[in-house]
């Protein structure tokens, strides 16, 4: 019985230093976890439509490192890295996350994979060192959005030539 899913990500700001992202998936949690932690699969979704993932390194164990590199649509490289702090397969992942363009704002990111009736709710809680870093993360989404609009505009302009 297909239920209507809440297929949109919901972002809230629980405190000054936090960002929470929630999304439901029509798949059991071991698959969501697999797509989240397998390099070949990460490469297929992580960039959204903001570019292409050129590298995804995952050393999935406590103390292990991860690093993702994306070539954004504008041609520049964007890289993130961090360390796994807690790894509970199919249930919970706690990582650190650093945007290499702003290495002072290290985030601690908790992922919770909760399954109900074959569907998975993924909750991602990002905790930043201070409000300025938190706001910078939100702003990065805004810049990304701007970039996308500019790209669209460019495509429209090209098509008009």
């Amino acid at each position: 019985m297909a239920m209507t899913s809440s297929r949109t990500a919901v972002v809230t700001l629980p405190t000054d230093r936090q960002i929470q992202i929630t999304r439901e998936f029509a798949a059991p949690r071991q698959l969501v976890y697999k797509a989240y932690t397998t390099p070949e699969l990460i490469k297929r979704w992580w960039s959204g439509d903001r570019g292409e993932v050129t590298s995804a390194e995952v050393d999935l164990r406590v103390g292990g490192r991860w690093r993702y590199v994306m070539t954004a649509n504008g041609g520049f490289e964007v890289a993130f890295h961090g360390e796994y702090r807690e790894v509970v397969p199919n249930e919970r992942l706690v990582t650190t996350e650093v945007y290499e363009g702003a290495p002072e704002g290290e985030a601690v990111v908790t992922h919770i994979f909760a399954e109900k009736d074959g569907r998975t709710t993924l909750t991602i809680l990002m905790e930043l060192p201070d409000r300025e870093s938190r706001d910078a993360v939100i702003n990065s989404g805004m810049e990304g959005g701007m970039q996308e609009s500019m790209d669209h505009l460019e495509q429209v302009a090209i098509s008009l030539r």
Partner: protein, 118 residues
């Protein structure tokens, strides 16, 4: 712990957890200050101080009802915050839309392997 910029805009005004609590209470309807004091378990001067900040950025309206001053929520100044977060939300939505495609494929693979799987 003085924060100079609290009254400049709604962003700063809602950065304070107590003020967000006040907005939560007022979202259910207008209240006199004594109600807020009771619900939030704060001293009245502190509640009044927060209400003053919220009024200055236009998040809270006040009217006199007899001898009481009634405070109510005006959500309009929150829209820029909502819009700000929305853009970030969209970039995650696009990412997750692609994750959906990956998951559909994983589900098919799993069904193909049914019998071998657990």
């Amino acid at each position: 712990m003085a924060r100079a910029a609290t009254t400049t805009d709604a962003f700063n005004a809602v950065a304070e957890p107590r003020r967000r609590q006040i907005l939560d209470v007022l979202s259910a309807g207008e209240r006199p200050v004594n109600d807020l004091v009771r619900v939030l378990r704060l001293r009245q001067p502190l509640v009044s101080k927060h209400l003053r900040v919220l009024r200055e950025v236009g998040l809270v309206d006040v009217r006199d009802r007899g001898r009481q001053r009634m405070y109510s929520l005006n959500g309009h100044p929150l829209k820029p915050i909502h819009d700000w977060v929305k853009t970030y939300e969209r970039s995650w939505s696009r990412r997750f839309d692609r994750l959906d495609v990956v998951l559909e494929e994983l589900k098919e693979t799993k069904e193909d392997n049914r019998g071998n799987d657990e």
